[in-house]
């Protein structure tokens, strides 16, 4: 039967045994953080799109609308979609650093 003194020694040994993490742990952590940021932006953009879509649906279902209103809403919808696509592309390509790398490659 183990004495408390033996347990104390065993605990110290156990908790001080070297434990080496994966050599890519830091890199994978940074990528996880970036991935979460991307997902957050994507989720936000999807929510915005749904809001625009529901607002438009509500407007059209409420009754007949004048042509200028319809055209304005459609243009607004297209504008929102273009901004969302541009933001998504900007984030996916690495933001400012990605743009600078692209510009540098054009000037070579």
């Amino acid at each position: 039967m183990k004495e408390p003194g033996d347990n104390e020694r065993l605990l110290k040994e156990y908790f001080n045994t070297p434990l080496t993490p994966s050599p890519r742990l830091v890199v994978s952590t940074l990528r996880r953080i970036q991935g979460r940021e991307r997902m957050g932006i994507i989720a936000g953009l999807m929510a915005l799109q749904w809001l625009v879509f529901i607002s438009m649906a509500g407007f059209f279902l409420a009754g007949p609308a004048a042509l200028p209103w319809i055209i304005s809403l459609l243009l607004l919808f297209v504008l929102v979609e273009m901004i969302a696509a541009a933001l998504l592309l900007y984030r996916i390509t690495g933001g400012r650093e990605g743009l600078e790398a692209y510009e540098n490659s054009l000037h070579r």
Binding site: K2, L11, K12, Y14, L19, P21, R32, G35
Partner: protein, 184 residues
């Protein structure tokens, strides 16, 4: 060498190289803490990464007057205790949706050869007994045997009075001793 507070300020102002330095600085210590809490290599790496995701989110609330390490460990412990064990499968799905395929290759469910060599049968039995301990007893034991955390440091990480730390350490050791007696 930059201090923790300088690196944190750099992270807050969006400088990615400071974040990388900060993660690298605490890589070994935090990984060991996560490893001893989860008792599993793969879960430890998952928890390690989730801790930093949360740290980035909470960085604005971090008080630069406090040392960074106890705060970091406090975030890790709170995440483990309150969320990680319950939401492990949800985190796995979220990461699968947001991660590259390359990351999947990082996962190694088997202990490394080095870990196998260093772990004796006694250590494996002890680990089995540690799995039976509630988190409120396991965490003080882990922090105490690091030999770096004083009772005050442990109290700061766990957010409890020093008396509670001592009481939980004693209770934890007694419970562990009885579990080890049963196993033997």
């Amino acid at each position: 060498m930059m201090t923790d507070q300088q690196l944190v300020e750099g992270c807050k102002s969006g400088q990615p190289q400071h974040l990388e330095l900060l993660i690298a600085r605490y890589r070994d210590d935090l990984y060991r803490f996560c490893r001893h809490l989860t008792l599993n290599r793969q879960d430890a790496e998952d928890l390690f990464q989730e801790v930093w995701v949360r740290v980035i989110r909470k960085l604005e609330k971090y008080n630069a007057e406090r040392p960074f390490k106890p705060w970091l460990f406090q975030v890790a412990f709170n995440l483990y205790r309150d969320h990680y064990r319950k939401w492990k499968s949800v985190y796995a799905l979220w990461n699968w949706l947001s991660s590259d395929a390359e990351l999947v290759q990082l996962r190694d469910p088997e202990p490394s050869a080095e870990e196998n060599l260093l772990r004796s049968e006694e250590h494996r039995q002890l680990e089995e007994c540690l799995r039976g301990l509630p988190a409120r007893y396991l965490a003080p034991l882990v922090l105490y045997y690091y030999e770096e955390f004083s009772y005050e440091g442990i109290a700061e990480v766990l957010g409890v009075p020093i008396g509670t730390v001592k009481s939980r350490l004693n209770q934890g050791k007694k419970l562990l001793h009885s579990l080890m007696k049963e196993m033997n």
